[in-house]
């Protein structure tokens, strides 16, 4: 029997576009800039396009919030090595803080959201600080417990509105501000994070994941770096939470719900871990899907979980890595 194997070769245009000479030709420039521009422009135009289907306009906001959470999860899991199963904790802290600022302290919206984001990020980092020395399974378990603990504590102590939550938050001034606030922040964080992980600090943070003893031997405090990374992730999560609480004009126990932990995780796995862009694309696929499946009730979660397990087992590279490969390379069968 004749043995064949698949060979992958870079496309010519990729090689030509890899150097400075890319700017000498429109075609190469389009090759480089096309996909990111398509994404950015597409997302920015989305609210106008969806004028045709007003119901779906709400979905854009939720989609972007989940994209932010997925970014945070991807950053923590694949760049810092901390698997945080409790993304909902960030959302809950951000949401509740924003509600407290807005309702109890009468901050206006445009002050409540940023201050909740910053205070929330500090608070989350402070609360997670003791767990930072942990790794792997242990960190995952503790972070899984945090949102649950927060829920039970609020229930038991009957603070912050107890089981009813805090109502009467101000909404954002108008619909378009509502859309663009979250869209621009998401895009900003997406590209900021992609740059950040290649900066000096980002390299040190990635070092923490690959070999923390080496980082330690270089005289850099591992825990301090992890705390910094958690701060960034919590910043994104808390912004999402604060935004959601103003979008629903309500902040309650469901801010700590499982959805905020599981959907970002699923998005990252489906989109491709460690690519950051994949996390966003994953949530842009999953959230509308969940909206379509809304009639099925909790069966949605079953579908996510099946997708999640399927991707982990059979296609662990994710959509993004797969698409990148197809975009940059072609394949052919050759004789061995």
């Amino acid at each position: 029997m004749e043995m064949m194997r698949k060979e992958r070769i870079d496309r010519g245009v990729r090689v030509r576009a890899s150097g400075l000479y890319a700017i000498s030709s429109w075609r190469e420039m389009l090759y480089l800039m096309g996909p990111p521009l398509a994404l950015i422009i597409g997302v920015i135009l989305l609210p106008f396009v969806l004028e045709l289907a007003p119901y779906w306009k709400r979905v854009i906001n939720i989609m972007c919030v989940y994209a932010l959470l997925a970014l945070a999860f991807d950053f923590l899991a694949n760049y810092v090595g901390l698997v945080c199963l409790g993304g909902a904790f960030f959302v809950g802290v951000g949401g509740y803080l924003s509600a407290v600022f807005n309702v109890y302290l009468h901050f206006p919206v445009y002050l409540a959201i940023p201050s909740a984001t910053i205070c929330g990020a500090f608070l989350c980092t402070f609360l997670l600080m003791p767990c930072l020395p942990l790794r792997g399974v242990y960190f995952a378990i503790v972070t899984l417990m945090y949102p649950l603990l927060a829920t039970r504590a609020i229930e038991a102590l009957n603070i912050l509105g107890g089981t009813n939550g805090i109502t009467g938050l101000d909404s954002l001034p108008n619909e378009y501000i509502e859309h663009y606030a979250i869209i621009l922040v998401t895009l900003f964080f997406l590209y900021a994070m992609r740059r950040f992980v290649n900066q000096d600090v980002g390299l040190v943070i990635r070092g923490v994941k690959d070999n923390d003893q080496a980082v330690r031997a270089s005289g850099i405090s591992v825990t301090k770096m992890k705390a910094f990374a958690v701060f960034i992730a919590a910043f994104m999560g808390c912004f999402g939470g604060a935004y959601i609480s103003h979008m629903y004009m309500w902040s309650g126990l469901s801010m700590f719900a499982l959805d905020f932990s599981i959907i970002p995780m699923a998005s990252v796995v489906i989109g491709g871990g460690g690519t950051l862009l994949g996390a966003v694309i994953g949530s842009f696929i999953l959230v509308p899907l969940s909206e379509v499946l809304r009639n099925f009730g909790t069966f949605r979660i079953v579908i996510y979980c099946a997708l999640l397990t399927g991707f982990i087992v059979f296609k662990s590279e994710g959509i993004m890595v797969y698409a990148m490969r197809k975009y940059h390379q072609f394949e052919r069968w050759v004789k061995v």
Partner: protein, 289 residues
């Protein structure tokens, strides 16, 4: 006196919940986050057998439910976990996803409300030192002691049990002696799931079969295992007594709301002070930097 008796009962219940989880982790090194789901599944299968087929013998229903759960556990390993063995993150996410899928699937399939109950083995209660205890709880304590003893004997004086421990202690050496690593992992998952099912059959008659119980069981199992040290048997039993009594005390002096808070706080505090748990066998350096 009441605190003492109910403390012991509660501790045995917790130990039961954690037994399957700790067994799977100590042997296959897989944190089986689907534990709670398997627990509820067993209860549900038993309920279906009892209520959809009239006159079905209770004992047979129990045996079938437990065996089905054990087979599910084995299949999960054989078809899913075997492909991602050793990748900790994927293992956690996959088992967690499977557990969620089962639980939410059951909820979607109509498992809500308080209509799902299993009958007590023997109804009625008895006075012990002036405290009234129902027979079901006494049976739980009795069977609990027997189960622990049986598991000890199984892992120390049986070829399969010894193979399981061999893999747990040193996988490579065990493989050199002809012990199949994947086969033992399958067996351990089957036994672990079976134990989860066994616990369900014993404990579910005390309450309703609802999805939330599945999540709570998982949390309690993790709490006990983490505090006792993941993969340590003595630690599991000791930790279940610590949490068991702590819960009964909070219930007596504070309110039932705080029960879960106590368990969760206990996990966090233990992980902070001594991440490998009371009797953890892992080297400290592996767990923290």
């Amino acid at each position: 006196m009441e605190i003492l008796i109910y403390g012991i009962i509660n501790s045995v219940i917790l130990a039961f919940m954690a037994l399957g989880f700790t067994l799977v982790y100590s042997i296959a090194r897989v944190p089986n986050f689907a534990h709670g789901a398997l627990y509820i599944t067993t209860g549900y299968i038993a309920w279906v057998l009892l209520h959809k087929l009239t006159g079905f013998p209770y004992l047979l229903a129990i045996v079938i439910a437990i065996s089905v759960t054990a087979v599910i556990g084995a299949l999960i390993y054989r078809f899913i976990l075997i492909r991602i063995r050793g990748m900790e993150i994927s293992e956690i996410i996959a088992t967690y996803a499977i557990g969620l899928a089962i639980l939410e699937g059951l909820r979607w399939g109509g498992l809500r409300g308080g209509t799902f109950t299993l009958p007590h083995f023997i109804a009625g209660n008895v006075q012990i030192f002036g405290v009234s205890v129902d027979y079901q709880r006494l049976i739980i304590v009795g069977i609990g002691i027997v189960t622990f003893a049986a598991l000890y004997l199984f892992t120390h004086f049986n070829k399969v049990g010894l193979a399981l421990r061999g893999i747990a202690q040193d996988e490579r050496a065990a493989m050199m002696l002809g012990i199949d690593s994947d086969m033992t992992a399958i067996v351990s998952l089957a036994i672990g799931s079976g134990l989860a099912g066994f616990a369900a059959i014993l404990l579910l008659p005390l309450g309703n079969i609802i999805v939330e119980v599945g999540y709570n069981v998982l949390i309690f199992a993790i709490a006990v295992c983490v505090i006792g040290g993941l993969g340590s048997w003595g630690g599991t039993i000791l930790a279940s007594f610590i949490i068991g009594f702590a819960q009964i005390l909070t219930e007596a002096f504070l309110s039932t709301h705080y029960q879960m808070v106590v368990a969760l706080l206990a996990i966090i505090v233990t992980l902070l002070i001594k991440p490998s748990g009371i009797f953890g066998k892992q080297k400290e350096l592996e767990e923290r930097v």
